[in-house]
Structures are given as structure tokens and as C-alpha cells.
Symmetry: C2
Subunit: 200 residues, 2 copies
DNA sequence: TAGATTGTTAATCGATTAACAATC
DNA sequence: TAGATTGTTAATCGATTAACAATC
């Protein structure tokens, strides 16, 4: 809306765009503050800023990627993250053939240099893109370095060992398989509703 | 559990592993059928099969990837999908430098060959890994070819044009930025709770 | 001032949890 | 038969929606 030059919106209009009720928009926003104005609605720019503040996007989180395979590279090239306040400052891998390569102006470092790197640089978030079976070990390492958030891409619910549970660390799991299975389920439901089986 | 040789589990044990109540497990499963047995619990193998059936994993969905960039390649190398009943049978791109390359035993085809390909092969799902601005066009193309599900990786809520809305097609959006912002939010909350600001 | 739209309270709805009879 | 645990009904809780006074 900002880009389209819309500078004012009511909860009613927003509800139509978002497919939820106006009540819910007002109710939810009011959990964080009174961002609107009676008789006017919401100012798009200020609402945008407030939501950014709620999400903490003004924190400028410093992030690293661990695992420079295809997924790691894909994330490194995602332009959107920086726009949202997540700055990529390092990429790590254990493969000597990959270490030293340049990805997006960043040298791939050896995973053994992680501790030194985190001592010299503030690292908030590690994006874990290593193979399935290496994830728990790498996660423990990252936790030991004082990283505050782990973004896990391996198809497992990542949990930390007891010694690290008390450390202040947040884990967000991205379960791609789950999402794909949901798609499969919905396709099924659709086919059933249409009474034509999957033609197989 | 299957792999660990556990062949029987009660809703209580499951609830402890999953961090939800036993009531909810029984309630939810019973939406789909009575898979347990009084006094015994659930047979792990049969429960696994039943859940697979609910999700439609026995459908063996045929999938293609559109966009052979880093994300497309990452997905092509994900071993887990096949295990869950999603078979990758084609990869498409529009870049002549990429078309013809081999990824995981599959030749990258030109996007212009999509229609012909879908006529000759049953394609259920297209994974969309093309840049942001190309996604809507590619999605329309895929929809026109009779593909039943779109798995969208670009950072936008994908919607189809009116002509395709009535076509039977399901869209599942993977919003990686959203997930990352949730992680950022949680880190924030944690820091606030600990009363130490993000040290920046 | 009149109209619009918020913030907020009250009513409704749905989802989670608790309880227990049925039954393996 | 006794013990365990389900399937299912009833009670509770929380989230969504509706309504409206406050106010820009």
C-alpha cells in the first residue's frame, strides 16, 4: 500500500484485503497499542512502522548461515531478508572445497572458526542448512557461542541438550516437508470434493 | 518410533513426546477414525500408515520444479520428499545457460516445453522457485496446464487470476521471510523478558 | 456539527481439556 | 477378572465476532 501511495486505510478496507474481519484487525492491533484514529482509520505509513517495531525489525539482527549447500546459497541470495532488518555477515561450512569460496561478497569460512568469529562479531541468528544428521551437533555449537536464535531447515524438530536449554536461545523450525504434505492433503480433499479421484 | 522398534504407544506417552495433551491426540485422531484399542493404545505401525493415508501420501504425487536457481536445486536435492510420496519428474527454467544441465539425473527443460510435458506426463504439483516478479505469470501457466497444486516460494501471497480461480487448483505459500520475522520477534520477547536489551 | 471509524466491552463460537463409561 | 486405555460426552477455556459508546 505504501508503494501504491495509499496513505490511509480503515479496518474495514483492510479486512477485505486480508480476508479476515475488521473486528479482529482492531482487536489484534490493540493488543500492542492504539495505532488508529476514530473517524479516520489507520495511517498506512505509521501502521507499517508500528508493526515493524512490534516484530523488532528495527533491531537489525546479525545473521550467519551454517552450511553452504544449495539451501544455504539460496538463503544467501534472498534479497528480502536484508530489507526486513536481517543482515547476513557470515557463511560457514566444513567442506574444504567450499571454504574460501565467495558467495554474495562473503567468504565461506570453516565451521571451526565459528567461535572466534562470534567473539569478534555480534551474531544474533544462525540459519542452519546442514544435512539432517549434522544439525543437532551444529546447533549445540551455535548455542555454545551465545547465538540467540536458530533457524532450522532440516526435517526434524530441533531441540537442544539439557545444558543448553537454560541458555537463552530461541528455535524456529522450518518444516518444508510438512508444508508439502499439507499441500498434498488439500489436493486430496479437493479431488474428493469434486468426486474425481487422482487419476493414477 | 518405527525405526527405534517401538510398536505400541498410548496417547499419554505420545502427549509427553509431543508436548500436547493426551485428550487432544485422541480427540484429533478420532476425527479421522478409531485407530486405537482400549487397554492397549495405538499400534505405531498402523497409526503411521493411517496418518499417511489421511495425508494422502500413498497418492504418489508427481511433481516438477519451475526455476532451477539455488532454491530449485535445493528442493531437487531434498531426499525427504520422495520418502513422503512426492516424486520429482521434471525441472524447468527459462535461462538457456541452465536448460540442458543435469540436476539429480533430470535434464533441465525449457519452460516453453511445460505444456507439452504436462500433456505427456501426469503432473500434480509444481514447486515455484522463480524470482518474485515472474511468479504470477508462471503460476498462471502452470494452472493452465491442469496442475493441481502450486507450492510457492516467492515472498508474496500467490493468488490466481479470475479465469483460473474456478479451476481446481490449490496453492500453498511458503513464506520464509515470515518465519524469520517470527524468530526475530521471539528473540525480542526473550530479551525483553530477561531485561537485557539486544546489545547493539 | 454530522459522519466515520476507532477502541473496547459483551456475546458467540469453536477448540481444548477433563471426565468417564465402554471395552480390549 | 482386573488393569489399562480408548472413544466420546460434558465442562472449560480462549479466540473470534458483534455491538456500541467514545471521539476524531
Amino acid at each position: 500500500m505504501l508503494n501504491s501511495g495509499i496513505n490511509r486505510i480503515s479496518s474495514k478496507e483492510l479486512s477485505e484485503r486480508m480476508g479476515i474481519t475488521a473486528s479482529q484487525i482492531r482487536q489484534d492491533l490493540n493488543c500492542f497499542g492504539g495505532f488508529g484514529q476514530q473517524g479516520y482509520g489507520y495511517n498506512v505509513e505509521s501502521l507499517y512502522k508500528e508493526i515493524g517495531r512490534i516484530l523488532g525489525l528495527d533491531n537489525n539482527f546479525q545473521t550467519i548461515i551454517i552450511g553452504a549447500g544449495n539451501m544455504g546459497r539460496a538463503l544467501a541470495n534472498y534479497k528480502n531478508f536484508e530489507k526486513r532488518g536481517f543482515k547476513l555477515i557470515g557463511i560457514f561450512d566444513k567442506d574444504p572445497k567450499v571454504v574460501g569460496q565467495k558467495i554474495n561478497d562473503l567468504d565461506v569460512r570453516h565451521i571451526d572458526d565459528l567461535q572466534k568469529f562470534t567473539q569478534e562479531n555480534k551474531v544474533d541468528i544462525a540459519m542452519l542448512c546442514v544435512p539432517h544428521d549434522e544439525t543437532p551437533i551444529v546447533a549445540e555449537k551455535a548455542a555454545a557461542c551465545g547465538i540467540k536464535g536458530l533457524w532450522n531447515f532440516s526435517p526434524m524438530e530441533l531441540k537442544l541438550s539439557h545444558s543448553n536449554v537454560n541458555k537463552n536461545i530461541v528455535i524456529e523450525n522450518v518444516h518444508l516437508s510438512d508444508s508439502l504434505m499439507v499441500l498434498g492433503y488439500k489436493i486430496n480433499e479437493m479431488m474428493k470434493a469434486n468426486k474425481n479421484e487422482l487419476p493414477r
